[in-house]
Symmetry: C2
Subunit: 308 residues, 2 copies
DNA sequence: CTTAGACTTGAATCAAACTCATAAAATTAA
DNA sequence: TTAATTTTATGAGTTTGATTCAAGTCTAAG
């Protein structure tokens, strides 16, 4: 079995040119190296270097092992460095994915604030939505997923961020504009504008329309919140959005925001995190910053405390 | 220090899902694994996996180590396989470079014959001549160099292949055509055609012209032996070539081949090989095949026995 | 031929890794 | 829930193998 030790010996031997000096650098006796290399050569049944020559030369086999060492040793050292910093809580990785499309609005400032505190944490925000984020979180490809549908998974904790109400945005000229709240059947004749994601992720379907068995007359999609509201203002359809997203982007003169159902649809947004990462200081800090930013910059959100 | 052993343990732990099964696969006791992992975790000051769960889960740190393992372990195994085959002499690498331009003629059939015997030896023939082959041989980038200028280098052996005479090819109409041999001053008024390489590699310069301090009237180059002979036959110049190359390519009716100097210039071609490779069976076999092919297919060559 | 420097070798030492026996914890079945 | 079973942890003792020590061999230079 070739061990890391052997590779290390060979590289320092190459760097130093003699067993004696290599032994000094490795804080071993020269005898130890002699034994070690003789042993390896016997086990491989192969000579690794030519001793009787200055500077000493490596055989083909020795050169092959040096190639292995050059490829492999830096990787060992790199992960050791990373693990050391991990253990000291100085660093880590924070790859984030969001299921909630509007969340860019508060997540970006949160990430910016966080980066100031923790410059050594590697940040990433996955904007592609064509993969299931929660399995990726379990696997370790992601470290934090912002979701409103916590599903019990081993090793995953859901930290509540805040609760908000989903409202229906309609044009101020729209016949429904003066209603006190919206019922499912009101939407049967409407064009619904939504983000281009699966309908299972849209609360208006899962919580209002699907239970009532009602389908809107048409569905069209838009990528950006402002674009959706433009369409709504010009009477081209209606759309369901978080109250805070509406408060930020809509012009009160042209858009009315109405509760969905008698009691309104209230949703809680969670940060899904792997349990072992939850205790890391940078993770706690990120969650704190995120909540702070949400409550200070989003209007209409409520604290939510139920941990899942 | 993370050792190969640790990485192996972690991957089999991932594959088997429990310490007990992993221990069986590794031919160790479960206790050994428990100790080993506890040890590693303590040294890293980091938890690597969550025990109280089935199937067991790896923490971020554990996943980082698994990533290292996945990258590094296959490389260990690969070089171990290669070294095993190296030690059994079954395989190896034979990257060849030639300094002698005409040598393609016999080297190609030699390589073909060799490949039949040793299909697992990786062959390569470097045809680019823009690097110094002997240092590359020492470094291990090459394994065999065909050269006529053996220079003493540590760890390099020169195996004589054969001796040949360098002859001057002239047109049968040429004024020198009926001479018994050529003298340096005969060439002062001639156009010399040569391969496009440095003049230090051309015997006609190093052995005849430069010692006599004579320069040909003009020098022009050609890549291919047949092309050179075409030029000679049409009276556009003269060229020096190995007797065997001339015998193969020249038409006796139009070309005369004359010795250079009173005794002729005899050159020995060597295979330069790293000493440790010389003992390998495939290398000995290649050298044998090469000599056989040369003596059976080249006319005018002589054995040479002096080892350098 | 002698001598200094570099490597090898065998025996002794020591530490690390492993086993054994057993306890603790967790999971499953009743 | 308890009992039974499986899985993991732990401490003591053992084994392995890596290292040191001391003495010897080899090589190159004087």
């Amino acid at each position: 079995m070739i061990e890391r030790r052997h590779l290390h010996t060979l590289t320092t031997l190459r760097d130093s040119g003699s067993l004696i000096e290599a032994a000094q650098r490795l804080h071993l006796t020269q005898s130890a190296l002699s034994h070690q290399l003789k042993d390896l050569e016997q086990r491989l049944n192969l000579q690794l270097f030519v001793r009787k020559s200055r500077p000493l030369r490596f055989t083909t086999a020795g050169q092959r092992l040096l190639a292995l060492a050059d490829s492999v040793l830096p990787q060992f050292r790199q992960t050791e460095r990373e693990l050391l910093r991990l253990s000291q809580g100085e660093t880590g990785r924070l790859h984030i994915a969001i299921e909630c499309h509007s969340c860019f609005q508060w997540l970006m400032p949160a990430i910016d604030a966080f980066r100031d505190h923790w410059p050594d944490v590697e940040m990433d925000l996955a904007s592609g939505f064509n993969f299931a984020p929660l399995p990726a979180l379990t696997r370790g490809d992601l470290d934090l997923v912002v979701t409103s549908n916590p599903q019990s998974l081993p090793g995953i904790s859901y930290i509540p961020l805040f609760s908000y109400e989903v409202l229906l945005a309609v044009s101020h000229r729209h016949p429904l504009a003066e209603s006190t709240f919206i019922q499912a059947q009101d939407l049967a004749a409407e064009t619904l504008i939504s983000y281009p994601v699966e309908r299972e992720r849209l609360d208006i379907f899962t919580q209002l329309l699907d239970p009532a068995g009602i389908e809107p007359a048409a569905i069209r999609t838009a990528e950006l919140t402002v674009m959706m509201l433009q369409l709504v203002a010009s009477g081209r359809g209606v759309c369901a959005l978080p109250n805070w997203a509406l408060a930020e982007h809509s012009d009160k003169r042209f858009i009315r925001a109405l509760p969905l159902g008698e009691k309104g649809i209230w949703t809680t947004l969670y940060a899904a995190v792997r349990e072992d990462q939850l205790e890391m200081s940078f993770m706690r800090d990120f969650l704190g910053i995120a909540k702070d930013i949400c409550f200070s910059s989003l209007t209409g959100v409520r604290p939510a405390s139920k941990t899942v």
